[in-house]
């Protein structure tokens, strides 16, 4: 039934109709949870338990439960924080920036990517709070009116900027994501049979009726939010990088950090999106919506950002040499050849060398290779933050204070635990929320079929439309230069 365009690859394969889209996406929400989902959730819940135990130890006994010491005041905590925030970048980039650039292919992946963003930011936000010595006073970082006298927050502190950056990013992302969900919630509401589902999805869909006015407002809000979020993609990680860049620690005090961190964030974000998508499309049988073309495109973005990151790594070394500052030079020599050389070279291998494999077309279009690659990039980006934070701190100015850092079991527990938290949230999302934006996917269906989509579900096996000419293809349609021969 699907018409294959001679000039570009279809964004959705398998000859889907509007009804098919609704069916395919809603099926996950409406059907009883399958065994694979249950198994995955069980694992995630076990990890979540690890998280709660580790947090309990941290809160009850103190930060001493971690492996930190007098010289290395941040290690896994902030590594994980930056890592999760970085991961949280892809969602907004996909939904906002690609929306503004009218990259229609984003429609099948933006929902999950945004959800990932939100969950990643939630995971990230755990660390700034948990790493505090007295987390019950965490609200003191907000510029709240208080009864303590003339106390105010320190607007010079990058940590305060972080508070604003992360909270803004989180709220905007959340609103953006939710706005996109409203029409789909309405679809599910309309199809819902159980009384609880009816009530729940009614509430969630905010009384969406699908009127022209609703759609018009929906489009407007999406565009505005996309406009608001786009600078956030840049600002959040810029500000996170300033936690380091504004300090005096050699290896942190680097002006290249903002662009380098943003590129790194997108890099790691796309890697995580790929990891999740590759699983989701199989588990929920969404191969027709998240196609090999999507994967190839995301691979390319990963390669580009990975290369930027690689250039940044090299630039840091160049500047260290060029500056002729003793401490700076030593910091970088120590990174590459000091006691944590293995972390540095893991980072270099994972982040600089691996993404270059994407130049090879076979790699780009290979699902197993892409999956492995995305995991490697995730690991590499974790090491990047570890390298920046720990290897800079552990040997800074005074050799008398040079130390080694090794994580405690609680450090590991909290990290693994946030992965559990993330997957618990993501699995719940995948089960109860439509993982693909039905409404927007439907809007790209017509680009790929001859006479526009049909409104009634009919048996695709009986009626297969023949390929037609290219008439009716809108000028704005994306052109895929990755076409098969």
């Amino acid at each position: 039934m699907q018409h294959v365009s001679p000039v570009r690859e279809p964004l959705v394969t398998g000859g889907k109709t509007y009804h098919d889209v609704t069916q395919d996406v809603s099926r996950q929400v409406e059907a009883a949870p399958n065994i694979r989902w249950m198994a995955a959730l069980s694992v995630a819940l076990v990890l979540l338990g690890v998280f709660f135990y580790s947090v309990y130890r941290t809160l009850w006994y103190g930060i001493g439960e971690w492996g930190l010491n007098k010289t290395v005041g941040w290690a896994w905590d902030i590594t994980n924080f930056v890592w999760w925030v970085g991961i949280g970048h892809a969602g907004t980039l996909i939904s906002a920036v690609l929306l503004l650039f009218r990259q229609k292919w984003r429609t099948s992946i933006n929902r999950a990517a945004e959800a990932m963003t939100i969950f990643a930011v939630i995971c990230a936000a755990m660390f700034p709070v948990l790493h505090m010595g007295r987390p019950w006073l965490a609200y003191w970082v907000f510029p709240l009116q208080n009864t303590f006298g003339s106390l105010w927050v320190n607007f010079n502190s990058p940590l305060l900027w972080d508070v604003f950056a992360i909270s803004t990013y989180f709220s905007v992302s959340l609103v953006f994501w939710y706005t996109g969900l409203v029409p789909d919630f309405a679809t599910i509401r309309d199809r819902a049979k159980g009384p609880i589902a009816k009530v729940a999805y009614s509430l969630l869909s905010f009384g969406w009726k699908g009127s022209a006015k609703h759609w018009s407002r929906y489009e407007t809000v999406s565009l505005i939010l996309a406009g608001v979020s786009t600078p956030l993609v840049l600002s959040v990680h810029t500000i996170v990088s300033m936690d380091f860049a504004t300090s005096v620690v050699p290896g942190w005090h680097t002006t290249i950090f903002p662009p380098y961190f943003v590129a790194g964030a997108i890099f790691s974000g796309f890697a995580m999106v790929l990891t999740l998508m590759l699983i989701t499309r199989v588990v929920f049988k969404l191969e027709d919506y998240i196609t090999i073309e999507h994967i190839a495109l995301m691979n390319k973005i990963m390669m580009v950002t990975g290369s930027i990151v690689g250039v940044a790594y090299i630039t840091e070394f160049f500047i260290a040499w060029y500056s002729q500052v003793e401490f700076e030079q030593y910091a970088f020599i120590n990174r590459a050849t000091g006691p944590y050389w293995w972390a540095y070279w893991s980072m270099m291998t994972c982040n600089v060398i691996t993404p270059q494999l994407v130049w090879i077309r076979r790699v780009r279009y290979s699902i197993p290779l892409t999956f492995v690659l995305s995991i490697i990039v995730n690991i590499g980006m974790w090491f990047e933050r570890f390298v920046i934070i720990v290897t800079s701190l552990h040997r800074d100015y005074l050799p008398s204070s040079w130390v080694m850092f090794s994580p405690s079991i609680i450090d590991i527990g909290i990290y693994v635990g946030t992965i559990g938290l993330f997957f618990t949230l993501f699995l719940l999302f995948a089960k109860f929320f439509p993982v693909i934006n039905m409404a927007e996917v439907k809007s790209v269906l017509k680009y790929t079929v001859d006479n526009g989509p049909t409104y009634t579900g009919h048996d695709p096996h009986h009626h297969t439309p023949q390929p037609a000419t290219t008439h009716g293809v809108p000028a704005s349609a994306s052109v895929n230069y990755d076409k098969h021969d």
């Binding site: 007098k70 010595g133 007295r134 300090s247 050799p399 008398s400």
Partner: protein
């Protein structure tokens, strides 16, 4: 008039009975049932209203009961003691001596509780300095491990009953021995002498853990008093005179007097150190030569041959010994040789050299008294005890079961009941005390009167500063009581002093108590036997005939922190956690081995080895020690306590059984076998990277020659390019400078004067309630010291090799210290930067700048992000990883913050920090405030020297100067003016944080500085 018809409500109204009439007047027909009308008149059913009433009462009562006002125990003085004002500290002069080193102290008391010691500037001996050990002893007053009552076989016994039993036992005891470490109290000695007259057959035997019996014997029974300030050339053979030998606080001050340099005084003494282990003294030496203990005699002989001549040829060939000898000879009377050896032959040669030189630094006419132990007598006594020939033994602050090499024999004899009556006057049931029948614990010295004569002609007093905490009795009173003398020791002491202090006794006495020190002597003038008594030829032949050692030699030494390991030191968490000045290790002892040896054996630091001699052995981890003489290993004594108390037990092992005894004299070395055990035991070091990595911005040093040539060139200043040419980094700044209108506090630390002794570390800890964290947390690198002393070894490799060897290899090579490195100490504390990196990054403004230049930490605002600590280039900020005062993990090591008894030592002016907050040096802001308030009360500005930080106060060498930099006449301003452009530098000047702490470049009296190659 027609009568209206009348209707009755019922037959009752018609009848109009009286009962009806009565009811009709009431509003309701019947009484409301007060009781619950459930049909029965059961009295047991609670009526509703009563129930409500009772419930109301109950709730109110319960509420009131639970609102009971807290009982406040503060009881106002009925008659306020004169001079005691709540919130205001009083200082009392006193003295601390326990067989280690003598310290004249001022005891700071708050509301009657001693909380800190400061050096007594009136003392002509210690001159305001204090050792780290003495600083820490205030904590031992509140040590819960002290025996709190009299005891018989460990069980509590009534004082009178004990006295009765002891008197009876002593009466028929026959031979009685009083065993003690060196006692320098004339009155105590008199008490013992009185005791001996009462009980004939009493002998008083003194022995020292760190024996100087050889030195005493060589000098005819007197311990020469040394004055290092009078020596231009000092040659020390294994004498750690700055750390542990005889009177380190006194010597340190003298030594430094002749080491400080300035424009006016461009000379300094030259110091040669020949030793096996890297000691504190050796690390300060200009020339340090490692040698085996067995070579010591020959090395001294080599010096003797050059200086005096006439001895038989020495087999010691190191050329540096000739240099030392030649310089000594040239220095003449300004030369001094000292030796830490306990071999009378070596000491005789040393004395002969000094005599020949006519050394002005040696005084045998007014000798030192602080070592009087006689190894031979003690050994004899222990043999007699084992043979059952002693009827009674009184252990007076002596713990020979632990700290005598023959302790195991003594323990066996005591257990076997070879002595009928055994009495311990020790402050706790220690290793010896628990084997004694009777325990009559002595007061802590802060609860006692006593006198001291550390050096002939110099007297010193101790006065009680608190009522005895426990049911103890001063040992002298016990001895007086048992001897049947009814007088108190206080009166006894006063009557003794009557003979010493001339003139108006009461006035002189009051002054002596006030000052803590007095001149005059209670001892007879010593007979100068040195000239006559020196048997040089005998000594030379003794050295020549000494058994030649082959194999690995063990050199036993004392650690600066734990010293002789006696009760007051061993169970003291401050001292246990005081990093050793050289190894930077805490909590326990270890085997120091040369690196080449460890490498050859394939051992790593922390590998446990078994060190054995004649079937006796200890198993300890190794510590790779640069500067350790080839063929030797070192182990500190004073560890391996089992009955010291919660803190001190089971730390390290006791090495004393491994010593050699030669002619009944202890030789603190032996030939040992070392075998690996395969086990590992990490050593808790506070510093694990040992070289400076050629970072001249951190620490700077130069040679004396360079200094004399051009003082302007000894310090390398970091310059940056500006349009006006090269300038100091602080000339260019993005920041607005603070304006200091009133005070601007600053500190100058003279690296040339700092010997690294660690006294300031403990002074700071006591002043600022710094928590102790214990061994595991030190291993985790989380010690809390606000002030630390960084120790750097020099390396053979330098940046100059970048061109030839490449940066990577050079940097890697620079991490290794030289085989026998030069050492530099750098006290490191909060630099109170004017452009503090910590201040800008705190999100909640918990660390801010004061109008007087202090970087201040507001604990209760801190949320604990640790960003400030990360951003501190000096890494001086300390985080409260745990609740050190309530987490049970720290109850053993930080016990003084857990109990009411222990908490008495805390400084009430300083907050005990909560879990999760950052802390750091405050420049003793409480002391600054106090000084300002005192001045304000008198309507004047604080004078220079009135406001002194705890570290500056306790520094025996006055390396730390604290003061107001806005006062042009203050000492610090003068130093900064004088040294500007010469020796004054800021650590990490190039990052332009503009510290308020200035360091002065170290000057070495050597040909070259290995740090500046």
């Amino acid at each position: 008039m027609q009568e209206s018809p009348k209707y009755w409500k019922g037959i009752e109204e018609l009848e109009n009975s009286p009962e009806f009439v009565k009811n009709a007047l009431t509003e309701f027909a019947d009484f409301l049932p007060v009781k619950e009308s459930n049909g029965s008149a059961d009295a047991t059913v609670a009526p509703r209203r009563d129930f409500l009433k009772l419930m109301g009462f109950g709730i109110a009562a319960a509420t009131l009961a639970s609102c009971e006002a807290p009982v406040r125990k503060a009881i106002p003085y009925l008659n306020k003691p004169e001079e005691v004002d709540p919130g205001i500290a009083n200082f009392y002069a006193s003295t601390f001596f326990n067989g280690q080193d003598y310290n004249s102290i001022l005891v700071k008391t708050r509301e009657g509780r001693p909380i800190k010691f400061e050096g007594n500037p009136e003392s002509p001996i210690t001159r305001g300095g204090l050792s780290a050990r003495a600083q820490a002893v205030v904590l031992s007053l509140y040590d819960g491990g002290r025996l709190q009552h009299f005891a018989k076989k460990g069980a509590k016994i009534d004082k009178d009953q004990l006295d009765q039993e002891v008197r009876n036992a002593l009466a028929g005891a026959g031979r009685i021995a009083i065993v003690s470490p060196t006692i320098i109290s004339p009155s105590t000695k008199k008490v013992i002498a009185d005791f001996a007259t009462r009980f004939a057959g009493t002998e008083h035997i003194m022995y020292d853990v760190n024996s100087a019996a050889g030195l005493l014997r060589a000098n005819g029974g007197v311990l020469p008093a040394y004055d290092f300030s009078k020596a231009d050339v000092i040659v020390s053979f294994g004498a750690d005179f700055l750390g542990t030998w005889i009177s380190p606080v006194e010597y340190a001050r003298q030594y430094i007097t002749n080491r400080k340099v300035s424009k006016e005084k461009q000379t300094m003494s030259r110091h040669f150190q020949f030793e096996s282990n890297m000691s504190l003294t050796g690390s300060n030496a200009d020339v340090r030569v490692p040698l085996k203990p067995s070579e010591m005699g020959e090395a001294v002989l080599a010096v003797y041959n050059t200086v005096v001549g006439g001895g038989s040829a020495s087999s010691y060939t190191d050329k540096r010994v000739q240099t030392a000898a030649a310089e000594l000879k040239r220095a003449g009377a300004r030369g001094l040789v000292v030796s830490g050896s306990n071999d009378p032959a070596v000491q005789a040669l040393v004395a002969a050299i000094n005599q020949n030189l006519g050394s002005a630094a040696v005084d045998v006419a007014n000798p030192s008294m602080v070592r009087q132990g006689d190894d031979a007598r003690m050994s004899r006594l222990l043999r007699d005890i084992s043979a059952g020939q002693v009827g009674a033994v009184i252990f007076y602050h002596a713990n020979p079961v632990f700290d005598h090499p023959m302790g195991a024999d003594l323990a066996a004899a005591l257990k076997a009941g070879k002595v009928r009556t055994t009495i311990s006057l020790n402050d706790r049931l220690d290793e010896t005390g628990e084997l004694c029948t009777y325990a009559a614990p002595d007061h802590h010295f802060l609860e006692s009167w006593n006198d001291y004569e550390p050096k002939r002609g110099f007297l010193s007093l101790a006065q009680p500063v608190i009522t005895p905490l426990f049911a103890t009795r001063q040992a002298q009173d016990s001895l007086l009581t048992w001897a049947g003398n009814p007088t108190t020791y206080y009166n006894y002491l006063r009557s003794q002093w009557r003979g010493v202090l001339g003139g108006d006794f009461n006035k002189a006495w009051d002054k002596a108590v006030h000052d803590g020190v007095a001149t005059g002597s209670a001892s007879p003038a010593p007979v100068a036997q040195v000239a006559a008594g020196l048997d040089v030829n005998g000594a030379i032949s003794a050295i020549k005939s000494a058994p030649k050692a082959s194999g690995i030699e063990l050199a036993i030494y004392e650690k600066v922190g734990i010293g002789n390991g006696s009760n007051l030191f061993a169970n003291n968490p401050w001292l246990q956690e005081l990093p050793d000045p050289v190894t930077k290790a805490t909590w326990g002892n270890y085997v120091t081995v040369p690196r080449a040896y460890a490498a050859a054996q394939g051992w790593e630091q922390g590998d446990v080895v078994k060190v054995s001699v004649n079937g006796k052995s200890v198993e300890l981890p190794i510590l790779i020690q640069p500067g350790q003489a080839t063929g030797t290993v070192g182990i500190a004594l004073g560890y391996g306590r089992v009955k010291a108390g919660k803190v001190g037990n089971e730390l390290g092992q006791n090495v004393l059984p491994l010593v050699a005894m030669r002619n009944d004299a202890i030789v603190y070395s032996n030939v040992v076998q070392i075998t690996p055990t395969g086990a590992k035991s990490p050593i808790a070091q506070t510093q694990t990277h040992h070289t400076i990595m050629d970072r001249k911005q951190v620490v700077q040093e130069a040679t004396l020659k360079q200094y004399i040539d051009n003082p302007k060139e000894v310090t390398e200043y970091e310059k940056i390019s500006t349009p006006e040419g090269l300038a100091k980094p602080n000339k260019v700044s993005l920041w607005q400078d603070y304006e200091y209108k009133n005070h601007h506090w600053g500190m100058a630390i003279d690296l040339n004067s700092c010997i690294g002794c660690g006294s300031c570390v403990i002074g700071c800890q006591a002043e600022n309630n710094v928590a102790v964290v214990g061994k595991q947390e030190v291993i985790n690198r989380r010690e809390m010291h606000w002030l630390r002393i960084d120790r750097y070894y020099s390396s053979n490799h330098h940046k100059t090799e970048f061109e030839t060897k490449g940066k990577l290899d050079t940097y890697a090579a620079m991490e290794d210290p030289s085989e026998n490195p030069q050492v530099i100490f750098q006290p490191m504390l909060c630099q109170h930067c004017n452009h503090a990196p910590c201040e800008t990054v705190c999100p909640v403004l918990a660390t801010t700048h004061s109008s007087e230049g202090l970087n201040q930490m507001t604990y209760n605002r801190c949320v604990g992000t640790r960003y400030c600590a990360n951003n501190c280039p000096y890494k001086v900020r300390r985080f409260n990883w745990f609740s050190y005062y309530s987490n049970e993990k720290f109850e053993t090591v930080n016990g003084h913050m857990f109990t009411d008894l222990g908490r008495m030592v805390l400084n009430p002016d300083v907050t005990v920090r909560a879990r999760g907050v950052m802390e750091k040096c405050s420049f003793c802001v409480q002391r600054i405030q106090l000084g300002k308030l005192e001045a304000k009360k008198q309507k004047r500005r604080p004078q220079d020297g009135e406001v002194v930080s705890a570290c500056a106060q306790s520094c025996p060498t006055q390396a730390i100067v604290f003061g107001d930099m806005r006062d042009p006449n203050s000492r610090i301003s003068q130093i900064l003016r004088r040294e500007d452009g010469e020796r004054a530098f800021h650590v990490l000047d190039s990052i332009n944080v503009q510290p308020n702490v200035t360091y002065l470049t170290k000057i070495r009296n050597t040909e070259s500085s290995e740090f500046n190659a």
